[in-house]
Symmetry: C2
Subunit: 451 residues, 2 copies
């Protein structure tokens, strides 16, 4: 009897303990989402914020404008044109030559797209596609007439910058592809979006917008050039096939391609992608916010969250990790600057040659094609948002090709006029008549090799 009582008391204590533990755990876990109050497709993040206050609080931190730990990038809207005036020349004849700033956080998307000088009376609504959760319902309503509708005409209906509804389903909170443009592109690639894993979705919601795109000529529908694959060369192949150009370069006359921000595509060629890492793993790490552990919605450079973003896999010190990232970016930056110089020389050479009535037309066309191809490579890496870190080797390969092509553009333009044109200045030009001018140089005869 004594033993039986002891057993009953012990059992009672264990039950109490388990109940207490269960209660404690329930207290610690984040409040289970109660989405009852969010209407389907609700565009206003403040409404979502009532159900997800911690995520919303971190989302609002996107307002911060800071370089943080970044050497390149950050969220301060500095002018790329002031930093590197050569870009004014590279974009000559295109609005990017007038206004081109570092982008700020998602919450600034509407202010930035409406205030940039690149937007004018000819701007179309394709430019709204990635700026607001008000867009998908509009596209659904208007169909393909949406894209070419004047930008200003839809201004009043677009009220919220990039927010919750762009990536989440309001009812289930599941990640969701809301942009038809990505759905189009996945179809082209033979990918069934229904079969994407949650980890893949943690990349694909970003790939809705952080990609290269063009406006389909017939109706200006935003289109990703993925027909042949995700690499720079694949996009170029498509652009050549459809004879696409964004503008004619004002100085060289070349039919140019403007790269957008192929963050997802470049990332896809890198070692992080090869290991199944998602965009959100680094850019939206798990953090403690308020009383819960959430995926940070202050989407930003992982340099500002090294311990949460990098050290989950890489056990080295924060200083080491920062040095590796910035050291890599330094190498890409240096090579990018070399390409800018080569492009500038190429543009000068083509420009000078084009003023010569005897320039060989075929070679001038060839020089312009080379300018187009080399600047496409430069812009692909320059417009991409990681200074090459998303895939450093691929970035350096692409820039190396760009340098080769830019210098060949310069050479070809020079050869088109058969004279010293543009680029590297001839320090003796005009000084020593009769010696070394192109007229004399055209004379025959082989002389002993000079040393």
């Amino acid at each position: 009897m004594n033993k039986a009582w002891r057993s009953i008391i012990l059992l009672g204590l264990i039950s109490l303990l388990l109940a207490a533990l269960a209660f404690g755990c329930a207290q610690k876990a984040p409040t289970p989402p109660t989405t009852a109050t969010i209407p389907a497709g609700e565009p206003d993040p403040a409404v979502w914020g009532k159900v997800y206050p911690d995520q919303y609080a971190s989302y609002l931190k996107q307002k911060e404008m800071t370089k943080g730990n970044s050497k390149y990038g950050g969220s301060v809207p500095e002018s790329h044109l002031k930093e590197a005036p050569v870009q004014v020349k590279l974009f000559a004849g295109y609005p990017f030559s007038e206004d081109y700033n570092e982008e700020r956080g998602h919450v600034w998307a509407l202010e930035d797209v409406t205030k940039t000088q690149r937007v004018g009376p000819k701007t179309i609504s394709s430019c709204w596609n990635c700026k607001s959760p008000n867009v998908p319902p509009l596209i659904e309503k208007m169909g393909d007439s949406f894209w070419s509708t004047p930008f200003d005409q839809l201004k009043d209906q677009i009220k919220h910058p990039i927010a919750c509804a762009d990536c989440h389903d309001a009812q289930t909170n599941a990640l969701k592809i809301t942009r038809v443009t990505l759905l189009d592109a996945l179809k082209t690639r033979g990918v069934d979006p229904a079969k994407l894993s949650r980890q893949e979705m943690r990349t694909m919601v970003c790939a809705q917008c952080h990609v290269e795109y063009y406006f389909r000529p017939e109706d200006k529908r935003v289109t990703y050039p993925w027909k042949y694959g995700l690499k720079m060369d694949d996009a170029e192949k498509l652009y050549e096939e459809i004879n696409f150009k964004d503008w004619d370069h004002k100085e060289s006359g070349a039919p140019m391609l403007k790269a957008q921000h192929p963050d997802y595509e470049l990332f896809s060629t890198g070692v992080h992608a090869a290991n199944g890492v998602a965009c959100a793993d680094c850019h939206m790490p798990y953090i403690k916010q308020g009383t819960s552990k959430i995926s940070s919605h202050q989407i930003q450079s992982p340099l500002n969250s090294l311990s949460q973003s990098c050290q989950t896999c890489h056990k080295q010190s924060e200083q080491y990790l920062k040095d590796q990232v910035i050291g890599t970016q330094d190498q890409v930056f240096k090579t990018k600057v070399s390409l800018e110089k080569a492009l500038s020389d190429a543009i000068d050479a083509i420009n000078t040659a084009s003023k010569n009535p005897n320039a060989k037309a075929e070679m001038m066309t060839q020089a312009r094609t080379l300018h187009r191809k080399s600047q496409w490579r430069w812009d692909y890496i320059s417009a991409e948002n990681s200074m090459g870190f998303h895939s450093p080797k691929e970035a350096l390969r692409v820039l190396g090709e760009g340098i080769d092509l830019a210098r060949q553009a310069q050479l070809t333009a020079n050869l088109a006029v058969g004279t010293a044109a543009g680029g590297t200045a001839n320090p003796d030009a005009g000084k020593t008549p009769g010696a070394g001018t192109s007229v004399d140089a055209a004379g025959p005869g082989a002389a002993p090799k000079q040393q």
Copy 2:
């Protein structure tokens, strides 16, 4: 009394068990080295092999000639000149244009150095420095007169290819720097060799020879150009300072630099070095040989020992690891080939221009300097033994610079004669007299821009 007996028996059993365990461990551990039979500095590896039979057995496997898992490299003495005939042109006027094969294992060092057509009556003993454990005693005996002694004169005293004594102390078996040339270089860098850790020594014994070097002009002492640092640019800075050249290029007339095999230097700039990985960690992984676990002395590509070399740190599959390495090498190789084409075009342009009596001397000098600098970059990566894998980003940066400089060499040579010279052929040359020849192109006037 019963209890006391039980305790005694238990204690006895435990003691027996411990003794058995201790005996078992002793049996499993490798025979402790008994170096009594190895005389100090013993050059013959077979003598060491009697004390270290397992290490010696793995050392002898270096005789194997195989591509193994390598796409680039391997230990088959294939001709680089046959693989890439453009190299005959790049090395014009230098023995590497006549005979340049992929290297075999250390055990072949003597056969390969004596049979190569690069060695002739003018070859000096500096070329023995890294080929045999017979060398250090000779240098000790002969002092700096060793270096310029005719190669053939010491042939009979050099009997063993690279072997145990090159890296180990015969008495203690400890790792040992036996080459004065590395000791010189460490002094230049302010490094005290006595303070190197064992892990550092697992790299430094390799850095005795797998480095860039030149022959000090006054006495031909083998010297590593580390005065300003270990990077490509640092070596170049020194070579410029001392006005060094290896040969004059037969076609361009440029004063050229030949890169040796800066494996250690390139590795030093990479991510493995930054994490304290030593050469031996990857190239001499721990393997089971005979009854013991030893550091493999079949020094070779880690692609042939992915599980022992890579998977100790990298937990991905062997196929993934192989794909990463070869994918990286593919990118470096592709960029290297672009640079070879650019160099070939530069050489043609300089060669053509140099036959023109009116070529501007100053610009020709500039073009030759650019040829020197660009080919130095190419050779630095080409002669290095990892197709860039030791530091892919640095390799790609260096090659990108090389492309820029080679194309500038070509441009400058063209400008020196103010005409279409070399490189990109002019398809219309001579076809349309009076239109587009350099004589006409020299005419004045700006025409409307051609499209």
